[in-house]
Each structure stands twice: as C-alpha cells, then as structure tokens.
Symmetry: C2
C-alpha cells in the first residue's frame, strides 16, 4: 500500500512559493501491533502551519525537511490491529497533508457521536472552534453583555467567535476584507467593518462609528492595522485575546508594532497570547456546549473546499490571500 | 497669606521647555469651615504628570491651563477649622507644585505613625512604592522563585520593585542607564544591565546572559528598546505589568511599537496596563507589609532632592533625562 504526501525541502522566506511543496510517494510497511491504517477523507490547512515551516521551534516543533508535513485530518480506518478501533471507524489525527497513513491507535480520536459531517471536526467542532471558544471564555473572560470586536471575523476561528459572542454579547463587530465576508457577517447580526484601503486612523473611525462605547473584548487574529485601531477603541478594563497575527506571518523583515501600546496603560487593558493546545483538557466542555448548537443549526459555519490531495498547498496558500470564508479544507 | 505656585499657560509639544512653567502668586482667602491650611515641606514630581500636560483626558483629567499644577505633597498644618486636624499635624495631599495651600480636610491624609521621614510618604511609602507593590503582586502576580526583570530599575518605582522581587524571587535583573545606577543595583544583589548604546538585539543578548532561563515577570516602566528586548526573553506563561512607558512620553510623532509582539503568542504571555489609583483600597495592606521594612532599613530607598520651590520644574524635567536615582523630590 502506497501513501502520497507533501514535503518541504527548504524553509520558505516570505510567502511560500507553490513549488516548494513536493508531492511524494512511499510504500507503507506492514501494519504493526497497536497500529491502524486510515484513508483520509478531509485535510485541514491552518495559518499556524506557516510557523512550523520556518525551521525554528516556537511553541511547537518545526516541520522536518523532507518528511511528510503534518496537520489535522479525518478519515476512515481501512485496516486495524487494535480491537477498540475496528475497520470503518471515523477518526481524527495529525497525519494530514497525505492520502493514506498508518499510526498507533492512541494517536487517533474516534469522532464523537454528534450528527454533523466528519469535516466539522476539523473546523467548527475541531481546533478552530475550540480556539474561538477558549479565546473568548478562558482568555478574554467575556462577560454577558460585553461589546466584542473580532478581527479575521469571517475566518475559521473568527466566524465562530462572532457567533458565540453574539449569543450573549452587547454590540459585536467583525473586521473582514471582501464584500462577501462583510455580507456574511451582517447576515448573522454582526456589524461588519472592512479594513481594506484604511489606515489605522480610518479604521479607528469606522470601529468607533460601529460601536461608540468601545469594546470590552478584542479577539485578535490578524495584527497590523487591526491591532492598532482596536487599541484605540478599548474600554477601561478591556481584555485582548491574541489568537493569531496572520498579517505578519510571511514578513521577511521585522514589521514595527502598533505605536499606541500606551492604550494598554490608559485603559488598564490586558493583552494575552494563547495556544489552544494548552487548553485541550477543556475540549469535552467545549464539545458539550457547542456540539448541539452545530447539530441543530443554531451555529452557522462556512467551509471553503479545495478538491484533491494535489490542491493541498494551494488551499494553504489561499489562507494568506484572505480567499477563504470559514474553514479552509481539502476533500480527498 | 500668599501662596506661590506653578502654572502652565500652554500645552508642551515634545520635551517641555523650562520657560513653559510660570511661578505665580495669589492671596489665599480666609479659611472656611472644614478647611485646613498647610505649609508644604516636600513636593513630588512624577513621570505621569507629563500626561496631564497634554490637554487630553487619559485616565486622569488634564492640568487646567493657568491654574496651579497638582501633585503629591506633604506638609504641616498651620491653621485649621477642623477639630480632627489640629495645627502641627503632618499630612499628605495632592496640592503640590506650591508652597502654601488650603483645602478641605477630607482631601488630606494624616501621615501614618511609622518612624520614617515625612518625604518617604511621597516615595517608598507613597504612590511610587504602592505602584511597585501593586504591579508585582496584583498585576504580574509574582510567585515565589520567579525570575523578574525590571526596567527603569533605579527609579522611584523600579528601585523598590527590584528589592521586593529580590526578597522572594529567583534571578532579579534590572535595566538602567548610568554607571552609578548600575552600581546601586549590583550592591543590592540585582544583576544590572545597561540599555545605553544597545539596540534591541544587543539588549536581548545582555539580558539572556544575565538570566539564561528567561523571565516569569517583566515590570515595565520604560517601553521602547527595553520592551522589545524583554519580549524576547519571556518564559512560557510570563506576565508583564505595564506601569509606565517613559521612553515615549515626550514623543511628538507616534513611535512604532515592538516588532516582536508575536512573542506574547509564542510564550503565551500576558501584558497588562494598570493605574495605581484603581488599587488604592489596598494601600493599608501595602503599608502594613512594606512600612516596617522601610523603618528597620531592610528596604533601601534613594532620593534625589532639588532645593526650593523655584526648582520644581527643573526637578520634573530631570526625570526625562534619567538624572534621578530613586525618588525625585523638591524640599521647601
């Protein structure tokens, strides 16, 4: 049995070129005791993967050059040497960027028994959904009635964050780029503000118009001009959950930070970075709360789907063009 | 009875010119019921006053043009129409920048009965001391054994922060400028690192050499290159208490922030601004803990003293030249 997978053979500088990603093939060895073989059906591509391509250890090990890339994936067990994981079981694991994989069963999670499509466990009920929930609840400590601002508000994480905030918030404002993203936000009762063509002062003015009282919570996915404008619109005691700073992920030279960090002082505000994996012990609580809302349609989620393993790098690169609405996925 | 006081008649741009400060004289009216008259003996000048000179409301009202400037002061009651505040009582109040003042007694605090000089209540046992204690304990939530970094480490706030940290910390490192400040730090068991002549990378290297494991707490008084270097040396879960950002207080154009805010994400760190006045209800706890240590000499404090009311603006302006060690005071 062969596995096809993507590798990197050098570390990208700036925006990775499509040519850096090589599709390779390897013969899989016979399955060992305790292992399962999985045919992946959906692959996840996520912004944080850019950090693993630099060759530097940050909060997670860098990708190994020449080895199969990794990422979240769901698939179906086609062969098993573990009684508890019979053939046909749907599982989630980290051996993405490939079609067939085999791995120790303890590195897999069987998908929970909720009436949602498999790929939901890569998005709204997976890492991005858990990230939205963790940032709002555990980092920003959102309270009922808080005014909430979200950047990257139509992305995989942001689109869930705005809906979770909307369900118990005051004014919820989302920053996004393209018109269809802004329309999606407005259709969900979220005030939509575009960052396009705006500098920090202009974006500040637009946010102030959308929510004159200012924000108690800022859920940060982007950085750059979004962060600078958001700092200007904080209320006293505001909390910023820093989930991501995608605006800078492909920078080749250091980009200066916001000139108005003193707003943290003036507004006695808190800014805190977090990594969802540190909070994974709370995944069952998240699933219990959010799972039913996804199953019954109360929480909407969007997917942007590329077809076929060959398109995986293209799907990944589109994340940095803002080309996805909701979760970016590859269907095999 | 006449009062001599300083005023501003225009808002400074950049570093305030000495000429902006005018010494004026006014006849005080007869004392009203409930009021006391105080002969000030010591005046405080503090970096935060620069913010009150801009004419913009931040966390505190701006100084009124043409009116007496304000600030912490201690003095002795010379006349009283309040039984509980007899003549001779030593009090602390906010009518600084002048020699004689009169005000309602409820705007004064009698000095506590601890065996320290009056001016200690403007420094080590006053707002700066309370600020050091609040930032370390209530904002950065310093734990026993934490490695602690302090910028502006020989200033009024920093010099107490390093000593409080040293009493229960692991490695304590202080950033300062001149050689006599560095010597003072080293003589108190604090590893001293100079920022002078260093860019962020060079300062990062010096901090890493002083404390290779990195810092659990960063007590921030300065901003600029200190903040950028400190962000590079945080441990996972670090807490930054932002007390001040004096490096930027006289900027006339926005100065970009640190290019490495993503370290907050990588190190899952928290950065929080605070204003000591929000925490003043805890002043008795502070006094109970720190007062005896000052009285018995366990906690050292430095004063830089200018003589005479006329020198008050000069004392204030020296704060921005780094010319003070410990608390900057004016003796009348």
């Amino acid at each position: 049995m062969q596995s096809r997978y993507f590798t990197l053979h050098s570390h990208p500088e700036g925006t990775p070129a499509r040519e850096l990603f090589t599709l390779e093939t390897a013969e899989l060895p016979a399955l060992a005791e305790g292992e399962i073989r999985v045919r992946n059906t959906w692959l996840s591509v996520d912004p944080y993967m850019r950090g693993r391509m630099t060759g530097v250890t940050t909060y997670i090990e860098p990708f190994e050059l020449g080895a199969p890339l990794q990422g979240s994936a769901v698939g179906e067990i086609t062969e098993s040497r573990v009684e508890a994981f019979p053939v046909g079981t749907r599982v989630r694991h980290m051996n993405g960027w490939r079609d067939i994989t085999q791995l120790p069963a303890e590195q897999c999670e069987p998908l929970p028994d909720i009436d949602v499509p498999s790929q939901a466990y890569l998005g709204v009920l997976g890492m991005p959904g858990m990230t939205a929930w963790t940032g709002l609840n555990r980092i920003a400590e959102m309270q009922h009635g808080d005014n909430v601002l979200v950047s990257g508000a139509a992305g995989a994480v942001g689109s869930l964050a705005v809906q979770l905030a909307k369900a118990r918030g005051g004014t919820v404002v989302g920053i996004a780029g393209s018109q269809d993203k802004l329309d999606w936000l407005e259709s969900h009762g979220v005030k939509a503000v575009s960052y396009q063509g705006r500098d920090a002062d202009q974006l500040t003015a637009a946010l102030t118009e959308a929510c004159p009282e200012g924000f108690d919570v800022y859920y940060e996915n982007v950085g750059g001009v979004c962060l600078e404008a958001a700092l200007n619109t904080l209320r006293v005691g505001a909390r910023i959950a820093v989930c991501g700073l995608i605006a800078g992920y492909n920078d080749t030279t250091p980009t200066p930070g916001p000139a108005n960090l003193a707003m943290l002082l003036i507004r006695r505000a808190r800014m805190q970075g977090f990594i969802v994996f540190d909070h994974w012990e709370h995944y069952p609580s998240f699933l219990e709360e959010v799972g039913p809302q996804v199953a019954d349609g109360a929480l909407d989620y969007e997917e942007t789907v590329e077809e076929g393993l060959e398109r995986t790098p293209d799907a990944f690169l589109k994340l940095f063009e803002g080309a996805n609405r909701g979760k970016m996925l590859v269907r095999l």
